[in-house]
Amino acid sequence: MKPLLFALRREPEQRLDLSKLTPDRLVGRTVKEIEAIEIGTTKVEARVGEIFKVRSGDPANLHFEGGSERFDLLGAKLLPGFSIYVEGDVGAQLGRNALGGRITVAGDAGPYAASGMSGGHIDIDGDCGDFLGAPLPGEIAGMAGGRIVVRGGVGQRAGDRLRRGIILIEGDAGPDLGSRAIAGTIIALGAVEGRVGYLNKRASLILAQAVDFGPTYVDCGAHNFAFARLFSRALVEDSRRAARLLSQKLRRYAGDTAVYGKGEILTPA
């Protein structure tokens, strides 16, 4: 069965809250019912039918034809077994609190992508904004599981307060990658800048390019890590370059010793 299709009519005038358009909330609804759903965020009304041309199909697989930087909360609270494909850009909080499923974005994503995600797989073809996988302001912990792969670059503080899960960045990372990370894994294949792994508690950062990590990362020497090789095999499907990086001999820096010193940064030896 073909996916349920949302074809964008024109660039929306206001930010849209697309959290109401996840598969589990559309099951059993007719096209007419879907078109009547209110998704605006200002006093001006914006219904699905005004923004999208909806074509019926399998609601377990959503397809957005055309995206916008104003598509907020796309795939929020997504459940296992469902998938969303976006042919274009998305706005803030992509896959917010997602519990499972798969989201593919053939474009750029805004800030706070995968925020609070605890399962699922997000693939972003383009660049990603600030605070990838980070908690929203006022929340304690960030992403708690699942996997996110960004083919382009990311903004500042990606992996902030990361708790579990894998963040894989093929492009360059903005300032303060892995800040306040609690646990989990961040892999960056491009350049990194600023305070890398600042306030990192127990997370592993694997970087293709080393920079000065500051006085609170202590060099532990170069090693052949058995687990890194095993992990490398699990990454082949998502990124061959990441898999290659992890199969090498790696130099380990333990830190951030300002916190516990139980985290690490690994770079090619």
Binding site: T41, P137, E139, R161, G214, V218, A258, G261
Partner: protein
């Protein structure tokens, strides 16, 4: 009497109020920005934003969140300046420009004298990352730990690591200096750190508060933050009791939603999501930081800060032309400031009341 101009040309005050009401009431998503005012002005501005179903933002929000994000996602030890003054035997000053952010700092904390409850020993002062010659003050002995604004977060991290007895990747004189400072902090009976949110970012403040937390395992240590400019600390309090959230809150859907990214006034204006703006900067007539020029704009600012573009209505300075309630840095509480040079220029609250009386949500524009 007040002055008003439209694109630089004088306009009658009544016409200005009418015009402002029309601009705001007809907007789909207006933003009330700047918010540089006393408690009454901020309160009026937030009520207006709610009526308009727009958003509001304070001009110093980036500085506000350096402290607030740590408070709400990590926790924070703070005390009033008076408590620090009478009790602290060790004071750790952090970052450059502290006396610019709070000129009365040394005087209010009586840093040149021993603490009232610790009269026998002189106060020990350590300054991490002062500007050149900033820590050379006659009659006060200050130990400095050099750091540029770029490496200050790292030196602070190293200091925290040493306080906790964990290894650092430093050697030579710097390592020795960090070590001696760490020992001095641990030896404190009641320590206080002083920092200005405007000079640090959230991660650095979190590192600092982590250091304070660790010190509290064996002694007492707390913080004295220096609030951001233009009545920012007061605006946060007012916003909190009115909506439950700090600034960068929107009423687009009829109820308050807080999102520091979405309701950042500069982003709202430059992205075209906001289609009108009321800019308030009653303390010092600061200009908005957005770059878009074609936005319908109303500026409330004191004399001399006349906006060349859009509508400008002159307002009085809080505490100068009219009595004002604001959060005082020196006591960490709301105080009434009597007007120092009373004048009949309207306050921000007065102007917003006048504008608000000239439109109705029930009548379409």
């Amino acid at each position: 009497m007040s002055n008003a101009t439209l694109d630089g040309a004088p306009i009658a005050l009544e016409d200005a109020y009418q015009h402002a009401a029309r601009i705001l009431a007809c907007a789909k998503f207006p933003v009330v920005a700047g918010l540089g005012s006393d408690a009454a002005g901020v309160r009026a501005a937030i009520l207006l934003a709610e009526r308009l179903r727009g958003a509001y933002d304070h001009l110093a929000c980036d500085d506000i969140f350096a402290d607030l994000d740590v408070t709400r996602s990590f926790g924070m030890f703070v005390t009033t300046p008076n408590e620090a003054r009478v009790r602290s035997d060790v004071v750790l000053l952090i970052g450059p420009g502290l006396t610019q952010h709070w000129p009365a700092l040394f005087e209010r904390l009586a840093l040149d004298r021993p603490a009232y409850f610790n009269k026998d020993a002189p106060r020990k002062l350590i300054w991490l990352g002062p500007k050149r010659n900033e820590a050379k003050i006659e009659g006060i002995d200050i130990e400095t730990l050099a750091a540029t604004p770029q490496n200050l977060p790292f030196v602070l991290g190293a200091l925290r690591a040493r306080v906790g007895g964990r290894p650092i990747n430093l050697d030579g004189a710097t390592a020795k200096k960090v070590e001696s400072c760490a020992q001095a902090l641990k030896a404190a009976r009641f320590g206080a750190v002083v920092w200005a949110a405007a000079a640090l970012d959230g991660l650095t403040v979190e590192m600092l508060q982590g250091l304070v937390t660790e010190l509290n395992a064996t002694t007492r240590f707390t913080g004295t933050p220096i609030g951001a400019r233009s009545g920012a600390s007061g605006a946060v309090q007012v916003s909190g009791w009115m909506t439950g959230f700090p600034p960068r809150t929107g009423f687009g859907r009829g109820y308050p939603e807080h999102d520091p990214w979405r309701f950042d006034a500069r982003r709202l204006v430059d992205s075209g999501e906001a289609d009108a703006a009321l800019w308030i900067s009653a303390y010092d007539g600061e200009a908005p930081s957005w770059t878009r020029e074609d936005l319908p704009l109303i500026t409330l600012a004191p004399k001399g800060a006349g906006a060349k573009r859009g509508l400008y209505i002159e307002v009085g300075r809080p505490g100068e032309t009219h009595d004002a309630v604001e959060l005082a840095q020196e006591t960490s509480s709301f105080v009434l400031r009597r007007a120092t040079a009373p004048a009949d220029t309207p306050s921000v609250a007065d102007v917003i009341r006048e504008i608000g009386a000239r439109f109705s949500e029930d009548v379409p524009c």
